[in-house]
Amino acid sequence: MNLEDELRAVLSQEAEMRATPTPDIEGMVSGGEDRLRRRNGTRIGLAAAAVLLIGGGIYGATQLGDDQVDSSPDVVGQPSEPAEAAAPPSWTDFDQGSADPGTYRIHVGTTDAGEVIEADLTIDGSNWQASNHPVARVDEDFAGIGVYRPGAVAGGCRMQAGHKPAAAGQQQLAAQLAAMPGSTVVERPTPTEAFGHSAIHGAVKVDAFCDGTTEGNAYLVAEDRGISYFDSPPGRALRTVRVDFWVVDVDGTNVVVDMFHTGSAPEDLIAQADRARESITFVTE
């Protein structure tokens, strides 16, 4: 028997052996009703905004369709989901493909209270490639942006340093990022305002090239957030990557925005990434 057949057998066996809990159908219906109420609230708000904008003569700029103005509260059974459709497309839908200019929504994480944090980001130009998070590339150079809530940080090359649990404090987390393995501080962490929130900004340069060809050999900035060249042997200039980071206080939760680019990245590529970074707005539930 080959491995594929073994997998078919073991997956079926494991699924059938698993005791199935009783479904909480009442909870599903009530949770679904809650979601409907929240959605209708959003739609009513959108409709109100549309009315105001019509008054101002710039209705077209809202790009609201007729179906988005319907504020009927009883929408179970309604065929479309206008309010959700009004949100930007999810970035994850474009994983590893080329990405068209536009605004995308990125899942960032959740607050300690379980509220979802997302970020809207707008990219322009033609160099963008989706790679879980946006990366703009010109030849071998790249500039990328990440927005995430880190669980652990600073694993360094090939995880030799091991991840450290992300500090709870904003300054402490910034200090951890400024002291990543193999890094040199370019800008010391400094309090600032960014993305409409209080933040700490810092910048480092790291030698991010790690021998090896697998994801496990990447330079890890944070848990599941890494810089990997895979098996493209980069030149010396490409080994050095500048990482700018902002530790942002989003409603009491530390979120990291980082932007990095190769040492030899052309200025217009960096500017392109800068514009995308500056467009970031956070969305909470």
Binding site: M1, N2, L3, E4, E6, L7, R8, V10, L11, S12, E14, A15, R18, T20, P21, P23, D24, I25, G27, M28, V29, G31, G32, E33, R35, L36, R39, V76, G77, Q78, P79, E81, S90, T92, D95, Q96, G97, H107, S131, N132, H133, V135, R137, E140, F142, G144, G146, V147, Y148, T213, E215, A222, D224, R225, S228, Y229, F230, D231, S232, P234
Partner: protein, 168 residues
Amino acid sequence: MTTEQDFVDFVAARWQSLYRLAYLLTASPTAAEDMLQTTLEKAYVSWARISRMEHPEAYVRRMLANAVVSSSRRAWLREVLSDPMPEAAGESVEVGVVDRSLLWPLVCALPVRQRAVIVLRYYEDLTEVQIAEVLGCAPGTVKSQASAAMKALRRALAASGVGEAMES
């Protein structure tokens, strides 16, 4: 029949099958229950639309798989993609005696997206293109994820002594 009653009937009839898929995708009984509960809440919101589909269960199963993978996505960055890896499904690697109680923990240890690809391929019997649609990524990504997963499984099996009986 009301929309709500139709939804309740659907869940009552398909809960076990959906839970099994959720369990394989999450590799955790509690995470499976949580993820399935949330997915069905979302399905309820659009139930009238979903119930009119030709295969409502298939749609919900895809919602579930997508939710599991999306919830685990973090900010991994791949600036430079490697060359496409060989098609794993096309390889026919003979395995000696595989203790199935050993294989499932190895599947559980795979990264979420790799595990999802394996489950969708070998439990749901989806094609690469269908898996790509479910996970919202390119077929090439599915191919590389499948290849990486199979490679990891073979490596782990080899380390457990099954490897002597395997062809590379």
